[in-house]
Symmetry: C2
Subunit: 210 residues, 2 copies
Amino acid sequence: MSQVIAEISISLDGFAAGPNQGEKAPLGEGGERLHQWIVPTDSWRSLHGMDGGEKGPDNDVAAEFGRGVGAYIMGRNMFSPGRGEWDESWRGWWGEDPPYHVPVFVLTHHARESVPMEGGTTFHFVTDGIESALEQARAAAGDQDVQILGGASAMQQYLAAGLTDELRLHIAPVILGAGERLLENVGDLKLEPIDVVASPAATHVKYRVG
Amino acid sequence: MSQVIAEISISLDGFAAGPNQGEKAPLGEGGERLHQWIVPTDSWRSLHGMDGGEKGPDNDVAAEFGRGVGAYIMGRNMFSPGRGEWDESWRGWWGEDPPYHVPVFVLTHHARESVPMEGGTTFHFVTDGIESALEQARAAAGDQDVQILGGASAMQQYLAAGLTDELRLHIAPVILGAGERLLENVGDLKLEPIDVVASPAATHVKYRVG
């Protein structure tokens, strides 16, 4: 059955991004350290047209990205450094062929026409709330999964609303000290660890939610 | 070589205790949920004079408690619900035979005579700071390890001062939402996961520090 999966990298002190996010620091100050586990992997490099990456447990985890996923959801702040009305020249951080290859629903307060990209990714902009975005993502995904990509605020809303079946955390051995916390304003989630993969670069834990 | 090991259970949102700690709630509201992984284990039950506990990965982790440890350090607030001057009738939470069986150094601002208990535990009260307490604990431990037990504030001080060789976290699949955060005011620790044990009740991660 189709699942709703929230997946994100966090620091050991619980931040999904560092402070002062902006165009020059999409993940905030130090936020790129959250993804040090994935950048050297073979899967990640392949996805970005490079070879010669590392194998091993982090690569196995990275290789799962996108598998069985029929649609993604992300917050406005993950899609764009801008706030308020759209600068329509902005087409995401990921170039003309983003690594999604299926519809991506972007939560926003500002309407915008859908943006088709190369490789199967289309960005759709949803202004009527998280439940509507999930409904549209489910319809697009069919019997495949819907994955919530972040950022912290979007994920919190889905967790707090009880709309998430699984939470996948990549816990980086990093202390950011400040930034966007992931697990606040989520209520008292019922969580059960169902799978853990360990490496020196991160601890990857899948939790069943609810 | 003798190591300094900080070991504690935390919630997935990073709290080492819930809010409103006091005599009736030593770990704060909901704080007992942090230890649900250990309470049913055979090792824990044996330590408290009961049999019939559970085996498995959590029990393996619980069985390590105290192994190779020659002295412990804890904060005043872990030893006692009282603050300020000592109520000398208070001899800890653990009855007449505490589960330590070696010297325990308690950080405090208020001097007190050492309190010998049954079974080898003696509580010593250290008023001249964390470095002095560590020096005394090292001397007592000889070539065995020194373990820092908590609470959050004591552990933060040792981590921030670069005096910890290993951090052992038992990450409970629980959201407390409020309480005493462990990993704040610790600076930018250099951490490497060196061992992970997974169970449905907790994710046990050992980090090398520094």
